[in-house]
């Protein structure tokens, strides 16, 4: 027991120090680096402020809801339905985040901990308890506690006690479920290839499957079908929500979801059915215990797999790189090929290529099912708009690469800085590599757009493509500047913040991209609504492309000087300092 407590205290202290030291940062460098670090703290602070806002709002809603239900102002069945649905959504978010989390970090910290005289069960307990610090769990805990407080304020002290116990048990179930999911994925991630494949499939499936409900729902189809038959009376009826009917349609397995058990228990608490209340507590406690034991088992499995060896492909034929790219010096070509390979071989790189086009195409496919009079369906009939929109999102998604062209190479950057490559060659190599990656993303967008909405005159499609090229020419020098001034040693194999560029270039890059696509949008609008001629669109955007290239290409050369000026800082960032 003493060993457990001592271990818990040591690990709690360790977590606190790691957090504090990460905020404090390392030794002071030049003033620009200090500005860069200060800016990097802005985003976490914003998230903190928003989290506090959510925390307070959920607590207020919980308190008011509890009080109204306890005093009979709010009908219990409807109030509980809202509570169950909100709680269910939050639980889903917590478990999903727990699944995503291991894909964003490494397990290396465990290696050191395993060498210390701390029992593995303590490590497990600390990990589970630490989940309470998850902002979403804190929000759920605050909301449920505030609900119990509301019941107390409504003049039902015994019921408030019951609600508080139910809240505590529900949070325990959530924490254990999130831990189990997190450990399971962390164990999967032990093997690099298996882990990266899992992350890629998970993120893509998670993003794309979210559209399935929109396809499955029949409600949105009814008005359309009615109009086709010339019947104007359809879609006039408003279907009233009936809680009993809703509950009857729920599959049996959902009755064991913690949000459902909590909802039933609260209903029993407010109705004063003591035996049923105890039954509800029992189910929640049982679930928490089962999940805790399962998570302990998976945790043991995960730790055991830490020192495992990775399988390697054995080969006798050595595959060297390709021939140098045309129109580039050998040095610039080598830099470009390294960037292309790095992007295509990392989870983040693959996602930026594969995700934006299909995501937006699916969104448009959903829009097409909406009634024809909506603007969404009108927009969906212009396939080139979908193409253009998905290109913009591709540019945004690629900020992980484009706004951190040097830092994302990490130690590879040191190799480039040590190589006989000029700053200009380095800049052009990066830009050509980025161009190849973004072109692949645009090709995916084109395929997805044509598959979903191929309507619209060909000249508009060509104009959108030319607009993408113009945006690329203008974003290129910006990318070099931001990447040189605000480098971050990011890991593109991570889907979370570990793979992000510095927050300032991410925000500024987003604004720049929006600014650079504006002339293309204006040209398309002028061609369609003023000249009413499709052929004018590529002509106007073509002129814009020439202007953008005339500005962008010389600026890349100018921007390359910033690499020389920031060389030392880049070298230190490459070493993770």
């Amino acid at each position: 027991m003493i060993t457990t407590l001592r271990g818990l205290r040591a690990l709690t202290w360790l977590r606190w120090r790691l957090l504090k030291n990460s905020i404090a940062g390392a030794r002071k460098r030049d003033s620009l680096e200090q500005v860069s670090r200060a800016l990097a703290l802005v985003v976490p602070l914003l998230i903190l402020v928003m989290s506090i806002g959510t925390f307070l709002a959920v607590s207020a809603v919980g308190f008011v809801g509890g009080r109204m239900m306890a005093s009979g102002v709010l009908e219990m069945a409807s109030g509980l339905l809202v509570l169950r649905l909100l709680l269910g959504l939050m639980l889903f978010a917590i478990v999903s985040l727990a699944v995503v989390s291991p894909t964003q970090s490494t397990l290396s910290r465990y290696t050191r901990l395993l060498l210390l005289p701390i029992p593995r069960r303590v490590l497990h307990l600390v990990e589970v308890v630490a989940s309470l610090g998850d902002p979403w769990v804190a929000v759920v805990g605050a909301g449920l506690t505030a609900f119990a407080a509301g019941v107390l304020a409504g003049g039902r002290p015994i019921a408030a006690m019951g609600a508080l116990v139910a809240a505590g048990l529900t949070v325990a179930v959530v924490v254990c479920a999130a831990s189990l999911a997190g450990f399971l994925v962390a164990w999967l991630m032990r093997d690099r290839r298996r882990g990266e494949l899992f992350t890629l499939v998970f993120v893509m499936a998670f993003s794309l499957l979210s559209f399935i409900p929109a396809f499955l729902t029949g409600a949105v189809d009814e008005p359309d079908a009615g109009r086709a038959a010339g019947d104007t009376r359809v879609a006039k009826e408003v279907h009233q929500i009936n809680v009993d009917e809703f509950d009857r349609h729920l599959p049996a397995w959902t009755h064991y979801l913690p949000s459902e058990v909590y909802g039933r228990t609260i209903a029993h608490v407010l109705a004063g059915r003591r035996a049923d209340v105890l039954g509800g507590f029992g189910v929640l406690a049982g679930e928490a215990l089962l999940l805790f034991l399962a998570s302990a088992r998976v945790h043991r499995q995960m730790l055991g797999a830490l020192e495992g060896d990775q399988s390697r492909r054995r080969t006798t034929e050595i595959k060297l790189g390709p021939k140098p790219l045309p129109w580039l010096s050998a040095g610039a070509s080598a830099v470009a090929v390294a960037l292309i390979r790095g992007s295509f071989r990392t989870v983040r790189g693959r996602l930026t290529i594969l995700l934006p086009g299909p995501m937006l195409a699916l969104l448009v496919a959903v829009f097409k099912r909406l009634p024809q009079e909506t603007w969404t369906a009108d927009a969906a009939s212009r396939g080139y708009l979908l193409f253009g929109g998905s290109i913009v999102f591709t540019f945004y998604a690629m900020h992980a690469i484009s706004m951190n062209l040097f830092g994302s190479d990490r130690a590879g950057l040191t190799l480039q800085l040590l190589s006989p490559v000029t700053d200009r060659e380095l800049a052009w190599g990066k830009i050509v590599g980025f161009g190849a990656v973004v072109s692949t993303g645009i090709a995916v967008c084109l395929i997805a757009s044509v598959a979903v909405a191929h309507a619209g005159a060909l000249p508009y499609w060509i104009a959108v493509f030319l607009g993408a090229a113009a945006t690329f020419f203008l974003i290129s020098p910006v990318a070099i500047w931001f990447s040189a001034i605000f480098p971050v040693a990011s890991d593109l194999s991570k889907t979370g913040s570990g793979g992000n560029p510095h927050p300032f270039p991410m925000v500024a890059g987003t604004l720049c991209t929006a600014l650079f696509v504006l002339p293309t949008i204006v040209s398309l609008a002028v061609a369609e609504f003023w000249f009413k001629s499709a052929i004018v669109a590529p002509l106007l955007v073509g002129i814009w492309l020439v202007i953008a290239a005339a500005i962008g290409i010389p600026l890349v050369n100018v921007a390359s000087r910033s690499i020389g000026a920031r060389r030392e800082n880049l070298a230190l960032v490459a070493q993770g300092k």
């Binding site: 595959k319 060297l320 790189g321 390979r341 071989r345 590879g412 190799l415 040590l418 006989p420 070298a571």
Partner: protein
Amino acid sequence: MNAIETHGLRKAFGEFTAVDGIDLAVPRGSFYGFLGPNGAGKSTTIKCLTGLLKPTGGTFRLLDLDPVADQIKVKRQVGVVPEDLALFDRLTGAETLSFVAQVHGIDRVEARARSKELLTLMDLTKSANDLVADYSHGMRKKIALSAALLPAPRLLFLDEPFEGIDAIASRQIKDLLSAYVRGGGTVFLTTHILEIVERLCDHIGIIQKGRLVAQGSMAELRAGGVTGQSLEERFMDIVGAAKSASLAIDWLAG
């Protein structure tokens, strides 16, 4: 003629001075061991000499060239295995060598032949097409060393090259480096393994707290000490390390 010559080389990070006005003289064709306790400034010196850090003061020349004015020319003749090994995680071992060959303008046939020889020597042929991300620490070190050797540099900076390398590869690398020096190449090596320095190096420099406290040939260094003294004892004397007996910790002795 010196391969490396520095005059008052200095590097400060804010108020902390990592390298404090050192005057190095590394003869061409020498195997120079650069020694010092942890945090003495060895790696910072290498980073300054290889252009990764900008010196705060002093001047230096590599292979009789000005590394600032003739940056690219110098880099073509210098190979480096830095502290962080400088490797792309997402390139294979073979692709890493291909990258180096390309930036040095080595033609493909020659690059292939050199890569094969180096990969065979380092026992990396079977893992040549694996990503560096999947390599063990020793394998990463070997591929970093191969990348440094591939362009046949005239000056080689090696920052702790033997740590984490197995005995067989270590022996082969030592033989390779000795042959390289006999052929006129210069090696500037930092290591904590004094046996390696004693066996390989003909010149020594010792740095402590950013200052060069001793420099010269192995014979000169030994001449300054007590007859029959080992390099380790001489090193301890120079850096003023306390005798281990005086550091005995009672509670540890049981």
